[in-house]
């Protein structure tokens, strides 16, 4: 977790070059190899713009983005896109192929990978996302969660070192969401990729290694979920929520229950309550 793989330095971006208010103002941060970084913020906070800066879908007006030592510019975008895979919000609008197999192949076809190699990688990647039995399926016969897993397989097949999820779970039902999060979790556990997840699902963000909170196009906070959720009401005031166990810990502390800390997951809160109870 020490080696920095992406450096974002003083990035500013305006969609409309004449407009006063930039979509991003002076944003700087690092992404470390192998970590799961969650970027959170309400709709319009600049988090999706930020995601599009990372692989050159947008180029910064000011500041620099460096990925694996390559500085992002018109000349290097294609090189960088091989290193950063991106999964978008709408499962339908990123499914290019006629079948699962075609779609997983699309990214590899673009960079000219030989066919025999593609066949191998399709098998490998669809197995990881558990879609290997659906290779001939057409997209309109797949659920949202399945389509997103296919999108992940398509990204993996190109073997990038970084995967960016741009609200990839926000249009899914709870089952689909779980499927996708579990898939990403397994990728991270296997050490396959560095994960950057743009989300407003705070329960999901609480599982990440680190979080960045965006607000009004600026970086509002950065740190481990524990450090970030300590901001409490400040997060609520910018349109975010807190995980249930955190809210509950907080309420219990207010009621005078002597908790040592505010918990980010249910298990650790239950454990501490058990200790408290035993000490009574």
């Amino acid at each position: 977790m020490e080696r920095s793989i992406i450096q974002v330095q003083h990035v500013t971006y305006r969609y409309n070059k004449e407009s006063e208010k930039p979509a991003l103002t002076d944003v700087s941060f690092d992404v470390y190899e192998g970590e799961w970084l969650a970027i959170v913020g309400h709709n319009g906070s600049g988090k999706s713009t930020l995601a599009r800066m990372l692989n050159g879908l947008l180029l910064p007006d000011e500041g620099t983005v460096t990925v694996s030592g390559i500085t992002l510019s018109e000349k290097t975008i294609w090189d960088i896109r091989k290193r950063i895979g991106m999964v978008f919000q709408n499962p339908d609008n990123q499914f290019v192929g006629a079948t699962v197999r075609d779609d997983v192949a699309f990214g590899m076809e673009n960079i000219g990978i030989p066919r025999e190699e593609m066949v191998k990688r399709i098998e490998w990647a669809t197995k990881i996302v558990k879609m290997n039995e659906f290779l001939e399926r057409e997209p309109h016969h797949l659920s949202g969660g399945q389509k997103q897993r296919v999108a992940i397989a398509g990204v993996l097949a190109v073997q990038p070192s970084i995967i960016v999820l741009d609200e990839a779970t926000s249009m899914l039902d709870p089952i689909g969401r779980r499927e996708v999060i579990e898939t990403i979790w397994s990728l991270k556990e296997k050490g396959l990729v560095t994960v950057i997840s743009i989300t407003h699902d705070l329960e999901e963000a609480a599982k990440a290694d680190r979080m960045i909170v965006m607000n009004g196009g600026k970086k509002f906070a950065e740190g481990t979920p524990k450090e970030v959720f300590r901001l409490e009401e400040e997060l609520v005031s910018i349109g975010l929520d807190l995980p249930f166990s955190y809210k509950l810990s907080k309420r219990l502390l207010e009621k005078g229950v002597p908790l040592a800390t505010r918990h980010l997951n249910v298990e650790s809160l239950v454990d501490e309550l058990w200790t408290l109870k035993s000490d009574n």
């Binding site: 896109r81 895979g85 339908d92 290019v96 399709i122």
Partner: protein, 265 residues
């Protein structure tokens, strides 16, 4: 409603015809369209019919599927038939009713021309019933490759085609959703004066276009993010395999063409 429209075309199967290379199928159809016009007497029509019949048998498709393909155009066939009967005034007169007279040659021609139509429709229906649209696209792309030299954007056309095909079900679903949403807001698409009904299409079309444009934009972004930059340096996962069956088919259609040329009156 959606599945009906889509699956109504391609019928999955694993017959010889299903497994043929789409290029072979396309070339066969292409040749067939020409030789249909070679036939002009009993024996040539018989051979043409026999060939068509054998192909249909090989697909193992129920005849009702072919009939469905014929249904929408049957009135054109009927119309052609009538036209020939009424216009051609050669051979013996068979029947007369006032100004209205039917000659032997008219009946013969009407019959043969209608048969040509029916054969053509059967063959093309067989193609679409046994070949997925995406295979047809692949076949076309491959066959049109030589025209790249003449600046024909073959790859782009094929990609456009395959993306359109892929989005048909999505857009149909979308149409149904918007239709229902507007009906819930009191729009009546099915009754009332024609003028009102035409006006009722606006609340359907505007959201549909907006959504289609939004989809196109997002799709373009996703394709760009996945490294798409045109046909250059691109490899393909889909590959076409020319097999023995395909060669046999090409040989048979060529043979048929020659026989028809020799036997035609």
């Amino acid at each position: 409603m959606i599945d009906n429209i889509i699956i109504g075309k391609y019928v999955p199967g694993s017959t010889v015809i299903h497994r043929m290379d789409p290029r072979a199928k396309l070339l066969t159809i292409f040749l067939y369209v020409f030789i249909v016009f070679f036939a002009n007497n009993g024996i040539t029509y018989f051979l043409l019919g026999l060939f068509t019949f054998i192909i249909i048998l090989l697909t193992k498709l129920p005849f009702s599927f072919l009939w469905n393909g014929l249904k929408p155009v049957i009135w054109i066939v009927g119309f052609t038939f009538l036209l020939h009967i009424l216009v051609t005034k050669e051979g013996d007169m068979l029947f007369r009713f006032g100004f209205f007279s039917i000659y032997e040659e008219g009946l013969r021609q009407g019959f043969f021309i209608s048969l040509r139509f029916i054969f053509l429709i059967f063959m093309t229906t067989t193609l679409t019933l046994t070949t997925t649209p995406i295979e047809i696209t692949d076949g076309m792309e491959s066959l049109l490759k030589p025209f790249k030299k003449f600046k024909l954007p073959v790859h782009e056309l094929a990609l456009m085609m395959s993306i359109s095909l892929r989005f048909i079900p999505t857009l149909l679903e979308e149409t149904e959703k918007i239709l229902k949403a507007q009906m819930a807001r009191g729009v009546d698409f099915t009754s009332g004066p024609v003028k009102e009904r035409i006006k009722a299409i606006v609340p359907l079309l505007v959201p549909l276009f907006i959504s289609a444009f939004k989809r196109a934009e997002e799709l373009a972004t996703a394709m760009e993010a996945r490294g798409y930059r045109g046909s250059e340096g691109r490899t393909k996962i889909r590959q076409l395999k020319w097999g023995a069956i395909d060669s046999i088919m090409m040989a048979s259609i060529l043979l048929l063409s020659i026989i028809l040329l020799l036997l035609r009156a």
